[in-house]
Structures are given as structure tokens and as C-alpha cells.
Amino acid sequence: MYELINQISRWAIPVMLLFIPLLAFIKKVPVFETFVEGAEAGFSTAIKTIPFLTAMLVAVSIFRASGAMELLASWISPVLNMVGIPADILPHAVMRPLSGGAALGIATEIIKTHGPDSFVGRLVSTMQGSSDTTFYVLTLYFGSVGIRKYRYAVASGLTADFTTLIASIMICKLMF
């Protein structure tokens, strides 16, 4: 099953790149001109995201480098220990919605220290694989079209993140 999915992942994009221009050509689309016409907006789209990403990453960077994140984690960990959740995963849980790179770094560190097949190693693997960097996606996607008022998107995104975290812990306790 894994092998099959792996092969699909490997082939998906090359097949698309073959299929789309060919089909367009058969349908008498001027393929080169159309590609260029579409690609034109790429530069401005990427540039438009800069102020939004800067704002978010500056805050995340200060929050992490100052030690505030670790402090926050140490405050919550006694509560987590009471319900049997290992405190080791807390920095990852806090960082995951904020910064993909930092969360991956923390996950790697935990896997290196405890081993990939330890309970904490499996749990942090599940957490890393199952959630996304909500704030990055929010800032990047909304920033690219100049949306400033996010309304309830932050709340629903974080609710999903929190659910995924709880579900990861529950299923790992059950399975491993």
C-alpha cells in the first residue's frame, strides 16, 4: 500500500506535466503563449507575500529566540503530565502551527534523542505528519491577494490543529 502511494507521489507531477500541454495542444491552444500569459502573474504574487510573511516570521522568531516558547511550554507541561502526555512533545505542539521549519527541527531532535521507534518518537512523527503550519499558510495565502481581515479563519484553523494534536496523542496511546 505504501509502495503504491509512493509511486503515485513520484509520478503525479511528471504525468501532469506531460498530459496538460499535450491535451491543450490537441485542443488547438497556443501552448507557449498561454503558458507565458499565465506565468506573468508569478512574480507579483510572490512579491506581494513579503510584508505579510515578514510580519509573521519576525514575531515567531522573537518568540522563539527569547526563550518565551520554552517558558510557555514549561508552564503547561505539569498539566500535561497529569493526563499522561509526555512533556517532551510540548515544544513541538506549540511550534507546529507557527513555523514549519522550526517544528521539523524539534521533531528531528526528539527522534534523534529518543529514537524513531520510541513512543515519543512515534508520537512526534504522527504530530509532524498530521498537522500543517497554520499561521504560515494563513499569512501566505491571504497575503498573496491582499486580504487583511482574516475573520474566523484563524479560529477554525487552530481548532483543527488542536483536534489533530489530541487525536494524535489518543491514537498513538492506543496503537503503540
Binding site: F35, A46, G157
Partner: protein, 196 residues
């Protein structure tokens, strides 16, 4: 809400740095963050330009509209405000497919394309997220993942006996996240509708 989170991180971070006696890290951290932001955006130029070109071809060939038609029963339920056969639907579906397969670097540009299409429908308040945009973001961050490629790679690297054993737990956790994302979106949508 994002205003509170943002201000909270900055203020709390600076206060903690000051209290712990290493206030000097703040300036460096702030500029490092800005540096990474600009680098990320610049490196996105190539990949976005490329995918926007391919997507325009797919649109001209009628593929995006065809895809939108196939998944209309689901997307019609999730995005009632998007007209049938609108290119936004095709882009949303392609973005979510890339997420499901763990093709991270293809998912981002598709998501940006979907946002641009959604913005074309969002004429009244161009600086405010539309309901469809909020739903799309909730689905995007809480999307089911079948193959978490990166973490499997790291598990292999550190000598796991069974690197893929976390696929099942990941699918379960993301499925829960997705269901709750859809429910939360629906609930918050109706709450906000009454307020606005």
C-alpha cells in the same frame, strides 16, 4: 484574532528576553525572521511562475473546469458561494489533492492560484476574507494526509525499524482534524453571519 496572537508573541517574547537578561537576542531574531520571510518569498517566485503557467494551460484545455465538474457534489456542499464550473473549484481541488499526497511544493502554488480565483469572486470587500476563503483555509490546514513524506524520510535517517508505521496514525489524526475543521468552519460561519 491574528492581531492579538501577533502582538502577544512580540510583547511576551521581548519581556521574557529582558527578564532572562539576554535582551540582545531580540534585534537579531527580528531581523533573522525578516530575512527568512524575504528569502521564502523570493524562492517562491520560480515555483509560482511555473505553476501559474501550467495552470493557465490546464484552464485553456478545459481540464480545470472538467475536474471541477467531477467533484461538484462535494465542493458544492463545502463552497455553496462559488458558482458551478468556476476555475476556483478546480484550483481548490488540485491544491487539496497535492496536500493529500504530501506533494508540499506543488500544493502551495495551487493554493495561491485558488486564492486569486476566490479573490475575483470577493468583490465587495477586497481586504476581508470571504466565507469561501475561510473554508478553503480551514480545509487546507486541516487536510487529510495519506503520505507524510518528510517525516518518513527523517525516520529512515535515524534508523527506524518501520519508518512507515506512523502512516496509519497520521491518517487517523488528519481525518479527525478535517472533520472538525469542516464543522468549526460551518459553526463560525453562521456565528459571524449574524454579527456582520
Amino acid at each position: 484574532m491574528v492581531n492579538y496572537v501577533w502582538l502577544g508573541m512580540v510583547v511576551f517574547g521581548i519581556l521574557v528576553a529582558g527578564a532572562q537578561g539576554h535582551i540582545e537576542v531580540v534585534t537579531k531574531a527580528a531581523l533573522d525572521g525578516a530575512q527568512i520571510a524575504v528569502q521564502t518569498s523570493l524562492s517562491l517566485i520560480a515555483i509560482i511562475t511555473f505553476w501559474l503557467g501550467i495552470m493557465k494551460l490546464a484552464e485553456a484545455a478545459g481540464l480545470v473546469q472538467g475536474l471541477a465538474k467531477v467533484v461538484r457534489p462535494i465542493t458544492g456542499f463545502l463552497f455553496p458561494s462559488i458558482p458551478k464550473d468556476h476555475p476556483a473549484m478546480g484550483a481548490i481541488v488540485m491544491n487539496l489533492s497535492a496536500n493529500i499526497l504530501g506533494l508540499g511544493n506543488a500544493a502551495t502554488p495551487m493554493g495561491l492560484i485558488a486564492m486569486q480565483e476566490l479573490q475575483k469572486l470577493n468583490k465587495h470587500r477586497p481586504d476581508t476574507a470571504s466565507e469561501a476563503m475561510c473554508t478553503f483555509l480551514a480545509l487546507n490546514t486541516g487536510c487529510i494526509t495519506i503520505i507524510p513524506t518528510t517525516i518518513i524520510g527523517i525516520r529512515v535517517l535515524y534508523g527506524s525499524q518501520e519508518p512507515t508505521e506512523i502512516v496509519g496514525t497520521t491518517v487517523f489524526a488528519t481525518l479527525c482534524g478535517m472533520i472538525v475543521a469542516i464543522l468549526a468552519d460551518r459553526l463560525l460561519r453562521s456565528l459571524y453571519r449574524n454579527r456582520w
